[in-house]
């Protein structure tokens, strides 16, 4: 691995000292352009791990590097900025602002990130073309997000995560709300786009059957030391 997108070094995290839930990740490295599936049951600390990587949470000790930039000693504002510049996030569901139009939802990250906005010449045109490659019908671009089907909403979320070409895409069980057929279709389209963008992907799931899409599968129990 020449360059690393994510690097965690002996990261510890807990909500409070008395809490019986304490995370300790001695080492985690994800290389540039790698597509990694993080497997784990619910309650295993996946979401907390993603929150740490995205900079929503700060580790109690240890270091987190994103694209060789140490993020855990940045101020909260700088971390927010760093996140919007470098990470596209796709949630399980309810990804979109329900009252905003599809286009507005897609171009929202560009409002917060000048770096990503600078890569997009005409925001509306780019948003429409991403929609097209994700096989979203042309007619939905000005429709309110709440009027879309769940499958369409997830694809709009992918479009939003990809716009402005962030180096890292983080997806938290993006397919769990979809049925098996839509799931496959969705993953095919998402992977095609991520490959075109040469982004790194870290996706969390408990579904082992998705393994063949990925370069590497990490079981959360292998990287995580539970401390009680």
């Amino acid at each position: 691995m020449n360059e690393e997108t994510i690097c965690l070094d002996s990261v510890r995290f807990y909500w409070s000292k008395k809490s019986d839930f304490k995370l300790h990740i001695p080492k985690l490295n994800i290389g540039k352009g790698e597509k990694v599936l993080l497997l784990g049951e619910s309650g295993s600390g996946k979401t907390t791990l993603l929150s740490l990587i995205c900079g929503f949470l700060s580790p109690i000790s240890g270091d987190i590097y994103l694209n060789e930039q140490k993020t855990n000693n940045l101020t909260a504002n700088k971390r927010d900025q760093y996140r919007s510049d470098n990470i596209g996030i796709i949630f399980q569901q309810f990804n979109l602002l329900p009252y905003a139009s599809v286009i507005d939802n897609i171009i929202l990250p560009l409002y917060f990130s000048k770096i990503r906005a600078s890569r997009v010449l005409n925001q509306r045109d780019v948003a429409i073309s991403i929609c097209k490659s994700l096989r979203l019908p042309d007619s939905i671009k000005d429709v309110q997000a709440s009027k879309l089907s769940v499958g369409q909403q997830q694809r709009v979320a992918v479009a939003r995560a990809l716009i402005g070409n962030p180096s890292l895409i983080i997806a938290d069980e993006p397919t769990s709300a979809l049925d098996t057929d839509t799931q496959k279709n969705f993953l095919d389209l998402m992977f095609k786009q991520i490959e075109e963008n040469k982004s790194t992907l870290l996706m969390v799931s408990h579904d082992r059957s998705l393994s063949n899409y990925f370069d590497r599968i990490i079981d959360i129990n292998d990287i995580l030391v539970r401390e009680d």
């Binding site: 979401t47 929150s51 949630f91 399980q92 309810f94 329900p98 139009s101």
Partner: protein, 416 residues
């Protein structure tokens, strides 16, 4: 972008938001109209009489003297003799004087005896003079000039005959000497509107066959004979005085109050009006207080509505955060929302206020003699609006800070 999205967010909750805006608008309008009415009442009230420097009557409290001489409310306890009147106006300080004689009535309206000087000297709202709208001032002994309110309520016109009753609401009438309307005054918004004005001689004339407030039985002097009699008044009720120099007011007032032949009081109408207003304004202040409380309650209500929307919008906050919005922006979004809601309310309430004033203005004017001017918002109103919008944003900080904690703690966690 943020503004556009906040507006579409509010639009998506159109029903709740418009109900909130409506509730806030109503309470703001309540406050504004009370304030407007208060200001108009104050202006009308304190401008009831102007350019008169002193009012003289028999010894009494200043408010009472003002009430009966200007507002025609209540009665004088005593009269002033014509001799005292002449002593007063002989003084060098006196520029002009208008004697007034009260005591009789017609229907529910007071009859006031005075001379032509009254029409010249009585001023209201600064330098406004009485104007005849119809007919002319009295030329005959039995001529009366009526205020616009009298004409309107009783449906009187020029030459309508009037029978004056003795005292107030009594059954004895001066029906042997009927008057007729010679002129109708233009509307003033002062108690003059509800006054029937006759000459001092006429007051004297109708009491020729009377003694100690009762008609002398069997005695009835014919009108022809009365017209030939000397009708110089022996008593009057009050005097309006203008002085040559404002510096002499207190000197003259002191002299009158210390006048040894008769117990007299003299008051400065402006001061007495302020004094009277302070008594009346308690009610206004109460109303004002109530409408302030109403505004405060609606503000809390607005905060509660934003609060209750938070739990369903917790997800939305997490999306904003994931896009890179700092928690400060989350707070800003909610304050922007409060700003939009309160600004909309301000606009709606102003609109409602103007409609309300437009509908109620003629009624308030005719019923209470208060002229509510429909004019552009005053600087004070603008200040109040700004203050209101600021406090709305301040109140919205309560839910906003909660949203801040949500958004910091939630992170990637899905809370629906």
């Amino acid at each position: 972008m943020l503004l556009k999205l906040t507006i579409s967010s509010l639009y998506a909750r159109l029903l709740t938001v418009s109900m909130t805006v409506f509730a806030i608008s109503l309470s703001l309008m309540l406050y504004l109209s009370v304030e407007k009415l208060r200001a108009s009442a104050y202006t009308s009230f304190t401008n009831t009489i102007s350019q008169t420097d002193l009012i003289v009557g028999s010894r009494t409290g200043s408010v009472q003297l003002l009430l009966y001489s200007v507002f025609r409310i209540g009665n004088a306890t005593n009269n002033i003799t014509w001799e005292s009147y002449e002593d007063i106006i002989k003084r060098d300080e006196v520029d002009w004087s208008v004697p007034i004689s009260l005591g009789d009535s017609h229907k529910e309206f007071r009859v006031m005896g005075t001379n032509e000087d009254f029409f010249k000297r009585y001023k209201y709202r600064g330098d406004q003079s009485l104007k005849i709208e119809n007919g002319k001032y009295f030329s005959d002994l039995y001529d009366v000039v009526i205020g616009s309110g009298v004409a309107e309520k009783l449906g009187y016109n020029i030459n309508t005959p009037i029978i004056v009753s003795h005292g107030l609401r009594s059954f004895t009438e001066h029906d042997d000497q009927p008057f007729k309307v010679s002129g109708i005054l233009a509307k003033t918004g002062t108690p003059v509107d509800n006054t029937i004005i006759v000459s001092l001689e006429a007051i004297e004339a109708i009491h020729i066959d009377w003694s100690s407030g009762a008609k002398i039985p069997g005695q009835e002097t014919p009108v022809e004979q009365i017209r030939r009699m000397d009708l110089a008044p022996s008593n009057i009720t009050a005097v309006l005085i203008g002085v040559n120099s404002k510096l002499q007011i207190f000197q003259l007032q002191r002299w009158i109050n210390e006048y040894s032949e008769e117990a007299l009081s003299s008051i400065l109408p402006g001061v007495a009006l302020q004094e009277l207003w302070r008594i009346v304004s308690i009610v206004e202040n109460l109303l004002l207080g109530i409408s302030m409380v109403v505004i405060f309650t609606t503000l809390i209500g607005m905060a509660a509505i934003i609060f209750s929307s938070l739990s369903e919008r917790r997800r939305e906050m997490a999306i904003w955060r994931a896009m890179g919005a700092s928690p400060k922006i989350v707070i800003g979004l909610l304050m922007l929302e409060a700003f939009i809601i309160s600004s909309l309310s301000v606009m709606v309430s102003t609109f409602l206020l103007f409609i309300l004033l437009y509908i109620l203005q003629p009624w308030i004017d005719s019923t209470y003699g208060i002229l509510v001017t429909i004019e552009m918002l005053s600087l004070k109103d603008i200040y109040i609006f700004i203050l209101f919008i600021l406090s709305a944003m301040l109140v919205s900080l309560i839910p906003a800070i909660r949203a801040y904690w949500f958004s910091i703690n939630d992170g990637m966690t899905i809370k629906i």
